[in-house]
């Protein structure tokens, strides 16, 4: 092989190795921006909001509905309690429609709210307890600043086996959840749960002693049902601010 050819092939070798190295590292770090999965999902969501899938959940009152359905506000207060759930839902839809049309003179009153979503399992004694505390503070903030028509709180449990409506209601009582602001739900099927966890980027790992460990965060969903921001669990203030901005920006 001539010296010239050797130099050329050497240059090609070096160039290929450089390009491959940069590509590989850039892929792993999402363009040299992040090192962790959490940082990557936070960044991605902020750049391109993700639509929350339509999945069925069961609330702490036992009713089954779509995960983002704003049930506390949909339910007219005078609806008879003994009506079967199915009929109730139909009646509900009608009543909401009637209510909406009657309120057309005061636009914006029944606009969908922004939602701050978190994921827990009620037996959890570590980070979920902290989340409950953060939500309590957020709820008080929402009440005091009169934001209950703009922002609500939603706690989703991923423990299908244990977290039935009773456990959820217990968790709600312990944390003094105001049903008009803070609702608690459990996905109806494992499929629904996995779909939600995937969308929100939550990874649940068994902790080896019967519980789970998960990457907890506050997830802000805009009134249009899109996950727009993921905030650290200690930063309720930012979550609320982002939720308000999302509500104001919604049509």
């Amino acid at each position: 092989m001539t010296t010239g050819a050797r130099t050329w092939s050497g240059a090609i070798g070096v160039g290929t190795a450089l390009v491959c190295s940069v590509l590989l590292l850039s892929w792993a770090t999402d363009g040299f921006a992040v090192l962790t999965t959490d940082a990557a999902r936070t960044r991605r969501v902020q750049r391109a909001p993700v639509t929350v899938p339509t999945v069925s959940v069961r609330g702490s009152d036992g009713a089954v509905h779509d995960v983002l359905r704003d049930l506390p506000r949909d339910l007219p207060r005078d609806l008879p309690r003994d009506v079967p759930p199915d009929v109730r839902r139909d009646a509900l839809t009608d009543s909401v429609r009637a209510e909406r049309s009657s309120m057309s003179s005061t636009p914006g009153l029944l606009r969908p709210r922004a939602v701050i979503v978190d994921f827990v399992y009620t037996r959890c004694i570590t980070v979920c307890g902290a989340l409950g505390g953060v939500y309590q503070v957020l709820q008080r903030e929402i009440e005091q600043r009169g934001l209950q028509d703009k922002v609500r709180l939603l706690t989703v449990s991923f423990d299908l086996e244990h977290d039935d409506p009773r456990s959820l209601a217990m968790y709600a009582r312990v944390h003094r959840a105001n049903a008009g602001i803070w609702s608690l739900v459990t996905p109806v099927t494992a499929d629904a749960r996995d779909q939600l966890l995937r969308t929100f980027g939550v990874q649940v790992v068994p902790d080896g002693v019967g519980g789970w460990v998960h990457n907890a965060a506050l997830h802000v969903v805009d009134p249009g049902g899109k996950l727009v921001r993921i905030v650290d669990i200690t930063d309720g203030e930012t979550a609320l601010a982002v939720a308000l901005t999302a509500w104001n920006a919604a049509p």
Binding site: G10, G13, A17, S21, L24, A28, T36, T37, Q203, N215
Partner: protein
């Protein structure tokens, strides 16, 4: 086909296609300190594919491109996000195995021709980086991998720190002990048989490589 190559293939198949992988990868320590090094070793044992003519093609002058790419592969699989993805996605798991096997093969092809200086650069960089990564893992107040527990992170960090330090110290003490290593740093053309061979191939193989390059 040599026994060495067969061993490499056997290790690779076990680590890629059998449930052994799931068992090892279930812990961060197993993933970082067993799975990844073993895959690299398997690639090293398999070496370059038999019929390629890379040795004479001149694509790997001084072993530099090969060592660079190997270092990049090892760095990539120290990134917590990459580890998470390799656990949660099958295709990324294959990417991980593939890149590490190729990295091992490249290491095989590059090690002797890199010469003492290139080897020192490679070992120095990687062990330093791995040790720092180990320290960071040990000190991190939160989990850096969403798929692993914090206790596991402490073990993996400690192990990484110890192994990196051990390799670094072992290699450099050998290097400093060899008078030829300090004077002979050209590697590719000159004989690098005297260079330290902590993880290097055998002398017989070296002479074969040397003969082929000439």
């Amino acid at each position: 086909m040599t026994g060495q190559r067969l061993t490499g293939i056997a290790i690779a198949l076990t680590l890629v296609l059998t449930p052994v992988r799931d068992v090892i990868v279930a812990s961060m320590t197993g993933h970082m300190l067993v799975q990844i090094p073993l895959l690299l070793l398997a690639g090293f044992l398999i070496g370059a594919p038999p019929r390629t003519d890379m040795r004479r093609s001149g694509l790997n002058p001084g072993g530099a491109p090969g060592l660079l790419l190997t270092a990049a592969v090892l760095t990539t699989w120290m990134v917590p996000r990459a580890l998470d993805l390799a656990v949660t996605s099958n295709s990324i798991a294959f990417l991980e195995s593939g890149t590490l096997l190729v990295g091992g093969g490249l290491l095989h092809h590059s090690w002797q021709r890199a010469g003492a200086l290139g080897q020192a650069f490679f070992i120095g960089n990687l062990t330093w980086m791995a040790a720092v990564a180990g320290l960071l893992l040990r000190d991190a107040p939160v989990r850096v991998c969403t798929t692993y527990l914090i206790r596991d992170q402490l073990y993996a960090g400690t192990g990484l720190l110890l192994i990196a330090t051990a390799i670094g110290v072992r290699w450099f003490t050998t290097w400093l002990a060899l008078p030829t290593a300090r004077t002979n740093t050209r590697g590719d053309r000159s004989s690098s048989v005297d260079a330290p061979r902590c993880i290097g191939p055998t002398a017989t193989h070296t002479s074969r490589v040397e003969r082929a390059t000439r």
